[in-house]
């Protein structure tokens, strides 16, 4: 529209104010994390070597680079606790994403086929729970899964089990909590993709003698791939860094990376290692996002 020179003050403010805010409270903090991840742990308060002595000028700058060390990253690699933690997170995220796909797909499909006048209400019903707090939804499951909770009572009443089973502090509970919490995140992108699908394609396949299951796998599923990709990414990424669900529903012996970072920071007060964990976690998460964005740009 206009050139940089003749921009009106409002537009200039619209660019500069949020830009400055994000640099101060998003970019700068992240650079600090990056710097601390290369610092040495010290016993002093705060527990890391100082950021940078700007007053010292050039000498300070030299010192700054001399003080950098990859020691914390070496620690991450040498201690199997951290490696396991990453693997555990990736495992939980992968399995939950697959379960989510399997159970959300039929629901999204049904939503897309629902009569138009009901569709709005039904979509709203799917979205509504994720406006309620994350914590409430996880807590609701503690209510059900606890030792004398409803699930055990129901199973005993149905004579499926004789003695109460321990559900809390197990991987099953973590998967259940994650699948429950992320369910709308998977349904909505799938619904958006399936809703756009042209019904005549299905009719054409049927007319040409394709049985419904074959039409589903050869027409419907391939056409909904963008939704599958978007939904999987939307679930996978936050699940990898998930903290609340494994902390409340899982056992401490199988910590995911978010919990490990938390423990390093708050429990062991090892800020450099916690920072290094954060940097590596981000490095794990960035490639799938970039691949997805590139593919999306390519599709356009």
């Amino acid at each position: 529209m206009n050139d940089t020179q003749q921009r009106d003050p409002l537009t200039r403010a619209a660019i500069l104010v949020p830009y400055a805010w994000l640099i101060a409270f998003f970019l700068l903090p992240f650079l600090i994390v990056l710097k601390i991840s290369f610092s040495q742990t010290t016993i002093a308060q705060p527990p890391y070597t100082p950021l940078m002595d700007v007053a010292a000028g050039w000498e300070g700058l030299k010192e700054f680079f001399a003080a950098l060390s990859a020691e914390n990253y070496a620690t991450l690699l040498s201690d199997s606790l951290y490696v396991w933690s990453y693997l555990k997170s990736l495992q939980v995220a992968t399995i939950s994403t697959i379960i989510l796909l399997l159970i959300a797909y039929p629901v999204a499909y049904a939503l897309a086929r629902a009569p138009r006048r009901w569709q709005g209400v039904l979509v709203l019903l799917v979205i509504l729970p994720f406006w309620t707090s994350f914590l409430i939804r996880v807590y609701a499951w503690i209510n059900i899964l606890q030792h004398d909770g409803l699930l055990n009572q129901a199973l005993i009443a149905l004579r499926i089990i004789d003695v109460p089973v321990t559900w809390l502090a197990t991987d099953t509970a973590v998967y259940l909590g994650i699948v429950y919490s992320y369910f709308p995140f998977m349904v909505l992108p799938l619904f958006a993709a399936l809703e756009k699908m042209n019904d005549t394609l299905l009719e054409a396949a049927a007319d040409l003698g394709s049985p419904p299951w074959r039409t589903f796998f050869q027409v419907t599923v391939p056409l909904s791939l963008p939704g599958i990709a978007a939904g999987s990414l939307l679930c996978f990424i936050p699940i990898v860094g998930e903290f609340v669900i494994p902390d409340l529903l899982g056992s401490s012996s199988t910590a995911m990376i978010g919990q490990t970072l938390w423990i390093e920071f708050f429990g062991n007060r090892d800020w450099p290692v916690a920072s290094a964990l954060a940097v590596v976690l981000l490095a794990v998460l960035v490639p799938p996002v970039l691949i997805y964005r590139r593919r999306e740009a390519g599709a356009r």
Binding site: I15, I103, Y109, L122
Partner: protein, 264 residues
């Protein structure tokens, strides 16, 4: 003609049951007079009365509401400005849009950790205001995305016509642009408010003495075990959110699913 078979109906019914059953159980047990989830001792408001006596919980609720109100309002202003900026071309726009989208997918533990380290590095006392700043930063990105989706879909010629007729930029914004995008701005504010009320992880990093938000309070109670009082708090929070959403959809006269869908 669309057919809606039994299979679809079953899938939908099971899906909704999965979503709502745990919440329904929670709401019902909040009215249960018994301390035990599995024993129904008659309907009562006992836990709600106990809640009213719980000073710490009420304090936390007040802190949460104030944080959410302030941060949502700040985030709405900043986010709307950012959305306007995103419709412009300028140097450094790639970095700008990167910083808008990155916090949306950034794990909360990292956002919390990095903001805490910033506050320590610049020696700001942690507490109420640091939570407000942290929530503003996170939610302004959500507001920007919601408002931008509205900005790209409306007719630019209206803005240009006003400018051509000599209307100054600020006036054009207030008289033309803002009325046109306000449903998105309003739902952006609500989204920011809800996200702020919801946040536990970021708040636990950046909080300080004397600033305990409701999720922080609930979390510390939940870790000690299930308490019927928590059921009551959760039921109230669910009721507030549900009422807010109904009000919003009546107010903006459009299907909330459209504006809320922007969260995904």
């Amino acid at each position: 003609m669309r057919r809606f078979g039994t299979v679809n109906l079953t899938a939908l019914a099971l899906g909704l049951a999965f979503l709502y059953l745990p919440i329904a159980i929670l709401i019902i047990s909040s009215f249960n007079d018994s301390r035990l989830v599995t024993v129904w001792a008659g309907a009562s408001l006992r836990w709600y009365r106990e809640l009213l006596r719980d000073e710490a919980m009420l304090d936390a609720a007040s802190v949460s509401l104030r944080v959410a109100f302030l941060s949502a309002s700040a985030a709405t202003v900043l986010g709307t400005l950012a959305a306007l900026a995103l419709t412009q071309r300028f140097r450094g726009k790639l970095a700008f849009s990167g910083m808008i989208y990155a916090p949306l997918v950034m794990p909360e533990v990292i956002t919390g950790l990095s903001l805490l380290l910033l506050f320590i590095a610049v020696e700001i006392d942690r507490g109420f205001w640091t939570i407000v700043i942290a929530h503003t930063t996170l939610t302004l990105c959500f507001v920007a995305v919601v408002a931008q989706s509205r900005l790209v879909s409306f007719d630019k010629s209206l803005q240009e016509a006003a400018m051509d007729l000599g209307c100054p930029p600020l006036r054009t914004f207030l008289l033309i642009t803002l009325p046109l995008i306000w449903p998105a701005v309003a739902s952006g504010w609500m989204l920011a408010f809800a996200l702020s009320l919801d946040d536990l992880v970021i708040a636990s990093f950046v909080t300080g003495p004397g600033a305990t938000t409701l999720p922080l309070r609930i979390y510390s109670e939940v870790r000690l075990g299930v308490k019927p009082e928590i059921n009551a708090v959760c039921t109230i929070m669910i009721a507030v959110v549900a009422l807010g959403l109904i009000a919003a959809s009546l107010l903006t006269k459009r299907s909330p699913s459209q504006s809320l869908g922007a969260r995904v």
